[in-house]
Symmetry: C2
Subunit: 202 residues, 2 copies
DNA sequence: ATTTGAACAAATGAGTCAAAAGTTCAAAAG
DNA sequence: CTTTTGAACTTTTGACTCATTTGTTCAAAT
């Protein structure tokens, strides 16, 4: 029975994932407003009322769709960072791979461009706070390792994590504005080296 | 005649300044939409049509009002920075005084909170680009001095100026969101020290 | 050079309405 | 017991009208 229960849950979770993939394409192509539940149901070959078996409402569907992508993004970078030995190199990889990921996932990138509210500098209007707290955890780990290894200055971990995450979001906002992508990547590079110099103890 | 011309221009400029001061109070109190040209004219003791002798239209009045404040802000900080000898202290003063200024000018602060578009990370939707380019000039000067004195690493001045200005705007956006003011000021302090360490050559 | 009043133009808010989209749920299907 | 459906219900949207307010212009007066 536990077996059956689990397999059923898996089926539901799998179909939800299918829905989220379809929704991702739709939202990227038409935007939130122009995409209807019926559109997505049709593409899935089901009726729109059935969508409500998987999500609570349209907004929930959208947030599950975007949130799903953000989680994969975060976890991918987290895994890649873990595999790097040297702490300075780890920091560089964390930054560069995070930006590369966004550029190579066009649907997510399009959604982000059309919905600037996804990245916000104000914590209390962050619709993906929980996910972002996890992303901050990646930064925090790197700082902690650097400090405990004696490679970094003994900075205040919490404040510095907030600071670096805010700078990261600032760059994401800048890259989300279609124009000026070239100048931003130069700024990211310069910023990474400047901050690494500021972090590293002599 | 040159004398007369000049005094007349001064009168006009002076009255424009009066209008901008009245408009500042009004816009801070009621916001852009709820403030009418008639409100301001009445407060000035003139008719609304006369306002158009000083400004082109309502939007122009608003931008002159805000722009005027931004220019005073920028110039005040610029003057204060000039008077500091030591380059590191100069950098610290530039940052701390810029934030203190905003907090001590409540009308400007209120307007900024109600119109988040005043501070934008996207250059091509910056309504005050010209003024902000001047503000960046203050940063650029400090960087140039630091580098030419050999106190700072020979960083790329243009890219680093862009970077620091973006971080500055990021902080302004965060402080414009009523909440979390305390945590932001700690981040500004931490950020200033981190960046100074990254800038300073050993 | 400044100011005004009167006239004109544009924007706004309230109200109506039908169509479209979102949502619920009892019953059917598997 | 899980999943799906069709039909009914509710909410939102967009198009339209209309009176009022607000923004803007300009010739004439100060």
């Amino acid at each position: 029975m536990s077996q059956k229960f689990k397999s059923l849950k898996n089926d539901k979770e799998t179909k939800l994932q299918d829905i989220l993939q379809v929704a991702l394409k739709m939202f990227a192509r038409y935007g939130y407003k122009k995409t209807t539940i019926e559109d997505i149901a049709q593409e899935m070959g089901m009726t729109k009322s059935n969508i409500y078996f998987y999500v609570a409402n349209k907004k929930d569907l959208y947030e599950k769709t975007v949130g799903n992508e953000l989680i994969q993004w975060r976890d991918t970078i987290g895994r890649e960072v873990e595999q790097v030995e040297d702490i300075v190199e780890k920091f560089r990889i964390m930054v560069s791979r995070a930006f590369e990921y966004l550029f190579s996932h066009k649907d997510l990138h399009t959604i982000v461009v059309n919905d600037p509210g996804i990245f916000t500098l104000s914590r209390d209007q962050d619709r993906f706070l929980e996910i972002n707290l996890g992303a901050m955890q990646v930064i925090r780990m790197v700082l902690q390792q650097g400090v405990s290894q004696g490679r970094f200055y003994p900075v205040d971990i919490d404040v510095t994590t907030d600071l670096l995450f805010s700078i990261y979001i600032m760059f994401l906002i800048k890259t989300s504005v279609a124009s000026e992508i070239q100048s931003v990547s130069r700024m990211v590079e310069a910023g990474t080296e400047l901050i690494l110099r500021g972090l590293c103890a002599p």
